[in-house]
Amino acid sequence: MSPRVRYVVLVAVLAIALALPFLVSNFRVFQFTQVAVYAIALLGLNMLTGYNGQISLGHGAFYALGAYTTAIMIDRWDVPYPLTIVTAGVLCLIAGFLFGIPALRLEGLYLALATFALALAIPQILKYFEHWTGGSQGIVLSKPNPPWGLPLSPDQWLYFFTLAVLLVLFVLARNLLAGRTGRAIVAIRDNPIAAQAMGVNTALYKSLTFGVSAAYTGVAGALSAIVIAFVAPDAFNVFLSITFLTGVVIGGLASISGAIFGALFIQFVPNWAQEISKAAPWAIYGIFLIGFMYAMPFGIAGAIRRVAARAALRGTAARA
């Protein structure tokens, strides 16, 4: 895609995103807020899996850590919610970095299993620290009202708030991945030995990628706690982690825009599947999944890239 076209698309998408909450009902706004939350989580996981080649089946754990950090801070100490999101991000950055160090010894599927253990453990850990987490009853929060007397509904305000966080994080991710760091991260995925030979500190970059990835997912978790206004261990089961991985692959590995497509998929397709068949929604979901992977082996973002490339090619051919 030429830079000009890319710019036009970006502006169009932004315009739609900004107009959206005024066009649809509060419930839909809430759903799209969830899409934005998922997109942040997926971007985090995509950095790790898509760009760095480390498979994680346990990002639900960081999502949970972020969500509980926010919930506990708001519930216990009345901390303003934007502050709790930053804290959640930092906490998850540290947790992810620390988890990334032992994970260095594990490659591919072995790492996937280690992270899977994390996903399995988290609901129980949350129940164990009942004094803080409220056990399986969870913690109930209040939805924040729009500040400065803005004429918005709470749902609309949370949408814009989440969208703003998403934009900041996406720009940061883009800058990170487009530069020297990004090249090092990708080089480790493609050929770790060659990367090391070129002077890339693979151990440091891998742990750092894990940390940043966990931080993104943690911020998403924190936002989800505010949007849903409730956290409970049952929300963070293994299936959530698998859903994230599904979203990343469907959206498109190693693609920033892929996170948005993936988020749209994991938010809406299960609902559609249920509307099509109440008896076997997950079978329908499975068919969707297989269909998507068959038609777009590089994810939605990959398919769009390909269509655009073909159109550009046709364009040059027509001019020639």
């Binding site: 129940k127 009853q137 299936f239």
Partner: protein
């Protein structure tokens, strides 16, 4: 390229429009002259999908009501959706039901964490959250949550009943407790201890816990036996109840065995544990046991069986959940009948809170549903039953948790 671009933008806009819904304003949302819309969430998939049959049996029962002409001329449009027992999904689904589908109210939403997630929302929106399917105690709090009402006896209430029985019938009682380390387990233990009162510290000689993920509870049983307890309060879900009954039998521990009703299924728990080992276990019940031959000629049971065969032939006729769903649906039908033509949300709540001595065919004889403006616990009576090696035999009086 520009055509492709415009096509892209166009399709995005089309997708957008598909989401736009006309906002309809009505005094009584979800109610027309011919229909009342009711929302429901249930785990049809995921770890708790065994409960899915409750949603199916309720749907089947409303189909029967509709076939018979509905209630006051209105058919029930029952929208039941899957939340996989995941609280965020419940929030999303219930918001869809309330804001998109514009249901009159939600009914029998299942699960403690899932209902907790929508508790505040329902009460802010002033939409009834009626007869929720959970045994937690917090659903009967009309002062703070006037739009939420429970249904079945709470876990704590059941604990009260066991305590009353022990105090009356077991001199020198020494109670050993095994419970699941979560809110469900703790609710049961709290109920027992509250009703034991000051004596609890002396009577309860040992408490053992387990996690849902533990492989066995064998060592806990051995510890309890060695504590010298002569009463075993068994607060476990079916898988662990089987293990506990077996192990207690194997190590030759013969206490008075109080088994929580959660695991009182003959087919799922007592048979696998061994009918011999299960003999003389005591539990509390409020529904008729469909495997019990004493109800074979009971009119209520026969109606239920006929209903199951006609409207839900795939459903199990030995599954307590199918009795549960049938009964709670009948409770709602009574509320709607009482509402007459005023199906406003306020009146639905008001009528739900004025049930007087309502007896339903599959409740044990003598048990009635009672509510008031200050009592949001519809069923509070239970009867103890002893396992005679084949079936539960009810004995003794009805216990009423509302009377301390």
């Amino acid at each position: 390229m520009t055509t492709m671009l415009s096509r892209l933008v166009l399709s995005a806009l089309v997708a957008l429009v598909a989401f736009v819904v006309p906002a309809t304003a009505a005094d009584t949302p979800g109610v027309t002259a011919t229909e009342i819309k009711i929302g429901h969430t249930n785990p049809y998939s995921g770890p708790a999908s065994a409960y899915g049959t409750i949603g199916k049996v309720i749907t089947a029962y409303f189909k029967k009501i509709n076939d018979e002409g509905g209630i006051n001329g209105r058919k029930i449009n029952f929208i039941s959706v899957d939340d996989s027992y995941s609280p965020p999904k419940t929030v999303e689904m219930v918001r869809r039901l309330v804001e998109q589908d514009q249901v009159a109210f939600v009914f029998n939403t299942l699960g403690t964490p899932t209902n907790s997630a929508i508790h505040k929302y329902m009460n802010q929106q002033k939409v009834p959250q009626l007869f929720v399917a959970t045994g937690a105690t917090k659903w009967g709090d009309p002062q703070h949550f006037p739009w939420t009402m429970g249904w079945q006896p709470t876990y704590q209430a059941e604990g009260h009943i066991y305590a009353q029985y022990v105090l009356k019938n077991v001199p020198n009682a020494k109670i050993g407790i095994l419970y699941q380390n979560d809110d469900y387990g703790k609710d049961y233990v709290k109920g027992l201890k509250d009703a034991l009162g000051d004596a609890a510290k002396k009577i309860v000689v040992m408490e053992q816990t387990y996690e849902v993920t533990d492989p066995t509870v064998d060592s806990q049983i051995v510890n309890l036996k060695n504590s010298g307890a002569n009463v075993f309060y068994n607060v476990t879900i079916p898988k662990f109840a089987v293990q506990a009954i077996k192990k207690a039998h194997d190590v030759g521990w013969k206490p008075l065995h109080l088994l929580n009703s959660v695991s009182s299924s003959v087919g799922v728990v007592l048979k696998p544990a061994g009918l011999d080992a299960s003999k003389d276990i005591i539990t509390a019940r409020y529904l008729k046991d469909v495997t019990d031959p004493q109800w074979k000629n009971d009119a209520g049971y026969k109606d239920w069986l006929a209903f199951m065969q006609k409207y839900y032939p795939d459903g199990s006729t030995v599954d307590d959940f199918n009795v549960y769903g049938y009964t709670v649906a009948q409770g709602l039908v009574q509320v709607l009948k009482q509402c007459g033509n005023d199906l406003s949300r306020a009146n639905v709540m008001k009528q739900a809170a004025t049930l007087k001595d309502l007896s339903l065919p599959m409740l044990l004889p003598g048990i009635t549903v009672n509510t008031s403006a200050t009592d949001f616990y519809p069923i509070e009576q239970e009867q103890l039953a002893k396992f005679d090696g084949e079936r539960w035999v009810n004995f003794g009086e009805l216990y009423d948790a509302s009377k301390k």
